[in-house]
Every structure is written in C-alpha cells, then in structure tokens.
Amino acid sequence: MRNVYLDHQSATPLLPEAFEAMRPFFTEYFGNASSLHQHGLRVRDALKTARQHQAALIHAESEEEIFFTSDGTESANLAIKGVAYANERKGKHLVVSATEHPSVMNSVEFLEKQGWTCTRVPVDSQGFLSLDALRGALTPQTVLVAVHHVNHDIGTIQPVADVGRICTEAGIPLYVDCEASAGWLPVDVRAMGASLVSYSPHRFYGPKGVGVLYRHRRARLVSILHGGVQEGGRRAGTENIPAIVGAGVAAEVAARELDGRASHVAGLQQRLWQGLLQRIPYIKLNGPVPGPGRAPNNINISTEFIEGEGQLLLCDLNGIAVASGSSCVSKSLKISHVLAAIGLDHALAQGNLILTLGKDNTETDVDYVIETFAKIVGKLRGMSPMWDEFERGVIDSVIAPRGIGRSFSEHAAAVSGKPAHGS
C-alpha cells in the first residue's frame, strides 16, 4: 500500500539537518541559558544564532525582536493578552477576523470575561475578510487588530498589507498569525505593517516545542507566563534550547527553499483539485480557487452526501493521512468555525476533508489519492441513505441543484426532529 501524508497543516517531519543541529544540545551542550558558566554561555550563542535565523525568515530588523515560546498557541495567547494587558489603560477593545484560529478566538473570549470587548469582522464565502467592516470596527478604545495571514482550514490569503495600512493610519498595532503561511509563503513583517507576528516552525519541518513571536521594538507587550527574566522578561521559563536550535535550521532552510517548495506544492495542488473535480461528482472546493488568493499547499473539499470522519478513516486505511473539519472529528461535535463563518451549508461542512501538501509529495502521490478517494466516495455513498434519496429525487444537491426534492438540511431537520446545528 502506498503511504501519502497529506496533513502537513497538522505536523511535518523534522528535517534531518535540523535534527543533526539539535543533537549535541541534548546531552553535551545541555546547559541552561541563564547560567553564567561555560555550559550556559555556550547555549546563549546558539540562542542568538537561532534568533537571527527566525528574524531573517520574516525580514525582521533585528533578532532582538524575536521571542521564543513553546508553540503557536502560546505565541497567539502572548500576542493577544500581552498587548491587551500592556494597553489596558488606553482601551479595552479588540478587533479580530471571524476565521482566526481557536488560539486567537479563545484568547479573546477569555479577555471578554475579564472586561474587554471584541468585534469579530466577518468574511465572505471564500473566507476573505471585509476591509470596510474592519475599518468600521475600529474605535478609539481599540488596542489591537488580529488578522491571520493564511487561513489554516481553507487556505484563504488575507489582504494583510491592506489591513496593515489601515492599522498604521489608525495607530493601532496589528497582530498577524502566520502559522499557516510562514515557511510556505514569503512573510515580511515590515511590508505587512505588523507589530506582532507569530508562527510555529513545526509547521515547516522544524521541531515541536517551540513557537515564535515577533514584536516590533516599539510595540508594548507584557509577559503572560510569569517567573524569571528569560526572553527579555517577556517569557519566563527555561528555554527549550534543542528545539530552538532546530527551529533555527528549519527557518534557514525554509528561507532558502521557499520559492521551490511553494511552486512544487502549487503544481500538486492544481493536479489534485482538478483530478478530484473530474473524477468525483458533487464535490466542492472550499475557499478561493488555487492561485494568488490561496495558499499553495491547501485543498479543502466538501463531498456531498457522505460524512467526513468516514472519509478520513477510509483514507487512513488506504495509507492516506488527511484532516477534516466535520463535527464528527471534533471533541465538541461542532463543525469547524471557519466553515461556519464562510456560510457553508451544514451538510457540506459534514462532508469536509482537508488535504495539505508538503515538499515530499509527488504527482504519483496525488494520482493515487485521486483514484483511492474516488473509490472511498463510492463506497460511502453506497452506504449513505442521503445518496440513495438524492438518486431517488427525494432530496436535492447543494452543490449542483437539480430543482428536485427538498434540501439535505431540511431533510436532516425533518428526520432528526430538530434543525441541524450550524444551520
């Protein structure tokens, strides 16, 4: 059986050269960077080099603008809460896009419980945020705007430079979550006009256990994990030196290979989507069409009349690793809030699958996925009462309506006695 990993959004394998760079820092150069002796001083040097690699990747002015955290989630929490707390006296209003990652959304919700208010700027059906709505949301009390660069679910590339201009004009710091773009698309913190940028090198072949937060030297930011004075007093706790070193190498390699990686996955993205579209009826791409509006490594599809977890499991049993935004795969039994925000029909959200490409995927991989997935869809549709009812004209397709029968959602509501959530 072929093995095709198409979940690079969730994890990537560590680069061998990053592993080799990390290796001596486990047992040999194991010192604490706060120590004043050889063991500590040696790793300080490594820490500085690692900061320089991150600064270079995102075109920061100085490595002193780079702070290391434990992951993208912590970086997002630090950006949101660290700026909110630092500017508490100035105002307690935040503006975020409706499709931010849960690490942003839930940080904001936490602050709301503590007395902050937040405006969530809506997005259109492809996931693009409305610049007018964003402009309209700003108030004199607004202390932070948060807009991600690329959406983690549907690959939408937000107009962050435009957002940056609006924020600069208004004198409000902008935080850009680049977790789904860094290492895959050029990230230039200055061109973005961003005061804060976060990402996690484990998303581009770096190690787990480290996140990055860029902070422009004039942006006010206080610590949210309190203790020692590591990371310029903005992140207490013993630094995870091996991971920081590996992340530096991953950033260096990513900066060098960025264009090659992007064009490689963009080619596969086209092939994958075109292949699926031709092979499988009643399938829909969520998010923008492949091209300048979409990250080159993401395909997000909804296959009608079947549910996502089953698709995911059968893919896995056929060697294909993918993700899904269906409610059945989430512990809270809720569909991805991104799919809800773009107004996707609940039936289509249920049939959702997320495929994210990587540098080592090949055309043969993609072709195997298309063929295998077509069979999986056939099998699951064969089991699905909805497919049967569609064929018998009882219900209609959302993707390509024939004008016959009631909608899937109406039908689901009728048989469940209650309306399906999300609709």
Partner: protein, 142 residues
Amino acid sequence: MSDTYTLYNSTVMDHFMNPRNMGDLKDADGVGEVGAAACGDIMKISLKIKGGRIEDARFKTFGCGSAIASSSMATELIKGRTIEEAMNFSNQEVVEALGGLPPVKIHCSVLAEEALKAALEDYVKRNPESAAPVAKPEPVSA
C-alpha cells in the same frame, strides 16, 4: 492490521470496514430514518418482519465510523428477535457488543436504537393489529 493504529477498537473497525447488513430491503415491512441533532448523522434501518419476529434487517448510514459500526452491529443483534424484544432494545447492547465506544461517540449507538425503534413504529403503523401486544403495556404504565 497488526501494526495499524486505530481510532476505535478492532470490533468497531471491523464493523466499519466490513459492515453487516448494509443496504435496503426490497418490500421492507418497516423503515425508520432518524438524525442526530448533535452532530448531523443520519441513519436508516429497514426491517423484514414475519410472525412477530424480525427476519431480516438492513441499514444505511450517513455518519462517522462509529455510527456505521453501530448500525451494522444493531442490525446484527436484532435479527431473529420478536417485536416485543426489539422494542426493549437499548443502545447499551450495541456499545457492549462493540466492546465499547469513546464517550463522545456513545450518541451513535443511541441513534441506532432510535432508527430501529422508528422502523418498528413504522411497522406497527402499517400493521395496527400487531401493535396490541406491544403497544398495550405502554398506556397502562403511562
């Protein structure tokens, strides 16, 4: 599947991958279709009933792996049972026969119970005479 990691235990995986009784019954005596408000799954069970006993059962499911496995197992379990026995069928039996489900997936087995009961109700509606021994106790206890 020895070195394959699975989300569900091997019984659930087996019923998901090789579902028993999948399909529709031509000239079914009772058909039930229900949906789970919680997650949007939909399950349909068709029954062939003869002499007050379930002769055959089929399912179709729109839902996750455990929903498919639950309906497969439910149809296996109820074949051969009397209407009365089937009316007392509980999702717990499905969970046990499957060797357990993750807590968040227990509702899938409930859906299977509901689909079965909807199919039985459909049968009773079509065959009011059969309802006597089954439905009677209800008004009494109510």
